[in-house]
Subunit: 346 residues, 4 copies
């Protein structure tokens, strides 16, 4: 039984990790920290988990340093995570960090999006990018894994087969995102009267999650445009990528390419070509689960392709991928605690 500590357990990704861990029987939660909520019951922040953790209190960070554990999840803000990671590693814990501190290996890329003064380069290089579908083998050897950007994950899982086949000439990705992407802290933009049914185009051409896609798909920045639009939902990402292919293809080749790439992947699923209304995935079909759905359609010219993916940003785009990575790092079946099905319609 792996003893687990969560650093920073009051946010939405922290809450989601707690939900997943309640169903992961090979892991035992020994502490969850909060500076502001120390001493208060966990369920005051996560009321839906009261039956699962009826008596657990938040632990102050200082106290948590002394708690014996095997594995730490860090659900801390960007920039405050890496010192905790260092101390956990020094004490022999394996670490999965959900912040952006360790996601980008290239220092200049990292600093251009997240500013200077982040994690030291040698620590960054020790980290494996925490997306099991792309780094399963390295995660098996790692003691430090980064988290994944939710929007980046929607792109990376949808496009890696094309990237590996050298087919991506241009990518114009449009992410439709829910309000949970903005986190648990109230803000003007997230205030219900203004956020409800909003269609708010946040970024017209670029978004910082792009950097993870450039890195993971080994793409040149000039090939990728990314737009993010906030829509009326709480969880979920639908990513629609309009792709210019580097060569003309026929649809059968794409099916073959995707089927091979997804083969054996428990959490990746293609949507069917027919009936038409199921061709492009809707996030509601994965909410609450660690699944990613991918569908596509090729234009008549054989050069323009629409690829659409759907994930739950808090699961496959955050806590779920983190647990999957942790399972691998701990030598467990990567599916443990993640065999979840969406409740639909909901």
């Amino acid at each position: 039984m792996a003893r687990v500590i969560i650093w920073g357990g009051t946010g939405l990704t922290g809450g989601e990790l707690l939900r997943l861990l309640a169903g992961q029987e090979a892991m035992e939660l020994v502490a969850v920290t909060s500076r502001r909520r120390a001493g208060q019951p966990l369920w005051t922040v996560h009321p839906h988990l009261r039956p699962d953790y009826p008596d657990l209190l938040f632990t102050a960070p200082d106290e948590a340093e002394g708690v014996a554990a095997d594995l730490a999840f860090l659900a801390l803000p960007h920039g405050s995570s890496f010192p905790v990671a260092r101390r956990c590693l020094d004490r022999g814990l394996k670490v999965v960090d959900l912040s952006a501190d360790f996601r980008l290996r290239d220092r200049s890329l990292r600093e251009s999006w997240y500013g200077p003064g982040g994690a030291p380069q040698e620590l960054v290089e020790r980290a494996v990018y925490g997306l099991a579908e792309l780094h399963r083998r390295e995660l098996g050897q790692a003691d430090l894994a980064s988290g994944v950007g939710c929007n980046a994950t929607a792109l990376n899982l949808a496009l890696f087969p094309l990237a590996r086949a050298g087919l991506l000439e241009t990518v114009r990705a449009e992410c439709r995102v829910g309000s949970s992407e903005g986190g648990a802290t109230p803000s003007e933009g997230g205030h219900h009267p203004f956020r409800s049914r909003a269609l708010r185009i946040i970024e017209p051409f670029r978004h910082r999650h792009m950097a993870e896609t450039l890195q993971e798909l080994d793409l040149d920045a000039s090939r990728l445009t990314m737009t993010v639009t906030a829509v009326e939902m709480v969880r979920g990402i639908q990513m629609a990528a309009h792709i210019g292919l580097s060569k003309r293809v026929v649809e059968a080749d794409l099916w073959k390419l995707y089927r091979q790439a997804f083969k054996g992947e428990f959490f990746l699923h293609l949507t069917p070509a027919r009936p038409a209304h199921l061709r492009f995935p809707d996030p509601r079909l994965v909410l609450g689960s660690n699944r990613a759905l991918v569908g596509f359609a090729l234009a008549d010219d054989g050069r323009r392709l629409l690829v659409v993916s759907a994930i739950d940003n808090l699961v496959k785009g955050a806590a779920g991928s983190a647990l999957q990575a942790a399972n691998i790092m701990m030598g467990l079946d990567e599916r443990q605690g993640l065999d979840l099905r969406p409740a639909y319609p909901a």
Copy 2:
């Protein structure tokens, strides 16, 4: 042309007043104040009104004191309104105050709900409660009108015919309210991920808007219970009152009673007994308008009655009633600027 000034124009009721005034051709907006936003264009806060007020800037309160006007609407927080009202009255303006400062004539009642230190009693007594349907004649003579509580208005318009007929023995009122009732300031409870699709019972037995109903319907406190539930909508109130009647009645009498009471009222409308799905009003049928809909059903025993009303909390429950009162105070047709129809479905 009446010159109008709005004190406190950044909130939701201030915004709604601005929308209504843009269509009230007998009034001319000369200033709208904001301490925090002074000098900024009005449309930075109310982007939907940019075509109506392309160039208007918020005025600092100090400057606004010097602006010549005939009428002031005060959309300020409870407790900060009455000093401004006093100064406006002293300068000869007519005043409609949308806060709660002047709503409750009884000092002890007022202080029990809103705390001590409010408006001086003589000023309170100078004010007329600003619901035209109940105080049309007095408003014609008044230079100071209070605003109305939105939930109270949903009750008062639904129940005044029964109250006047002495039929109300017990009233258990349930208000379903939207997120705009909480105002424009971000809060944890109003944060979209937590507020979206919430069913949050805010008050099990009482709510401070009750006091206005007790006063206006001349009811004893022991007869009234009020529950407020936040539901998934931005605007709108649906009030459902389960009433124990003081004597057995037949339905035809109730129709007669309500028809007489609503006769000649431009904004009050009964919903039909049939078809069944239209019997009880839905707030969507009044959104954006100053209308109030009222429907009812009598139980077989002739003693239990369900009365349901629907209003837009920002219009009939706030800015619309305020403009209607102001129209009367200024000697105008009370409907001016208020001849609005809901866009449905929306």
Copy 3:
């Protein structure tokens, strides 16, 4: 491994059963019937379950009669279920029927709500009402269990401790329900432009699910009023019961009463008295799970009580209770396949 057949697998409760069974490892789905969809993949109707049942086709009813099985769930319309139940029982299967055919033991009560010509009385009397929390022992001996009405379940779980203590003098129950309660078949009332954000009071005083509450709580019809309001959600019921108690009580007694009644119940949970915003349960805290939450507040007079419950109508109010009953009937742990946690916020 129990072999399971589902009769009528295209509706929302059928779909929910399929979701739950995919995670119930002691049961094996051998067939799911549909007259209209026979031969088509199950996922054309339930696209979220494509990864769980990639190859399963709907079976025509006639063929299904010949499939060997140990247990049948009937998710058929009211009135068409009992003949299938009879044939299944004759072939030695245990049967859980989700329709209303076997819920009401009293023939006249049953016919008054569902019309004449239903299940024969001896078959009805053979059935156990399928709510494990109230009939666990009988279910252990039964070969036929009824389903439960979703609204009735919200009432029954909230009120049975009070009913057993003889405290219920009057009950005015208000259920707020989602659109999934209306089923999967398109209708004018369920058409999105008209149903979205609706506040539609469906029944002012009574609803046919009342009958199950009268039966299960052994209440006199004159004591119970029930209102149903459709609100903006897909899943979930929030039931708020305003209760007149038969005697004055103190709050501590109620806590004791409820704690004892819920003791050992895996799926029943009380909400805390504090903080205030968590006192009354919100359906979002149980969606997708088999949990029921119950909270209450006592008025100062010690005689008026508000009890609020929240369930997922498709799980605890239908498929979840059915699986729980089936587990008991098959000698399994009643929690199998039901250890589910809500994804919140969502």
Copy 4:
């Protein structure tokens, strides 16, 4: 006072016309037809308009033929409109047809999208495309105007300045649409449990409204791609067009181009470049009104442009444009009945 008849008054555009006409004081409604609802009160279908039309009944089409009128709006299904138009014209009425029957002048284009057997070519050629901003002068001479496609209007109003300047090399337009676009008739796709919070990509590359854009902007089909995604709203279209410009431009030129093109247009408004969150229009800022908002951002390369527009599909995208065209055809101020402001937030 122009006497107006509406043919086909039970749908969503018919209802919207009725709402607008209730506020257009220079027009008098003399009849509204419905085959199925003849003899029933108008408010049974449009309950929000009961105060406006308390006594009006639907008229059977046969009877309506004999009603004297000056102007007819046809809100009939595609393909059934043109024979009615012919008869109305023959009787000397002016006609505004909201169907697609007269929108496309080119017969082969028309038949390729709507099938053979539509309106005779000479009648089509008699019609003016009913978008006042593009055809004001011709409408002043016309006795027959077509309606406009809602998605086409979102594109046409956003792009006509660029088209006229010869700047459009490629256009990839993405329309986010609400459920009202599907009309008032229940359907599986529009059933609330399935439609609520859906993100449903309806068309990956083309949509029949494209044809109107090709015609009105005089674009070659190869330059335009159009995707339509159903999102969680009832009314509203947000159109986001990713444009490849035919030459490098600087942003100031675009501002100048758009300001000139929109000059004097009462219903067209540019959104400001700053603050960033207001740069791209959100449909909520126009709902219920006849306004169209347009915003844009130019990429650093001066060649890629994002143009975003927002309209209410039932107003500017249908009934509002129709009334605006009718006003012009009748020699009235085109703004009459259309001076409407959105209620926001709502």
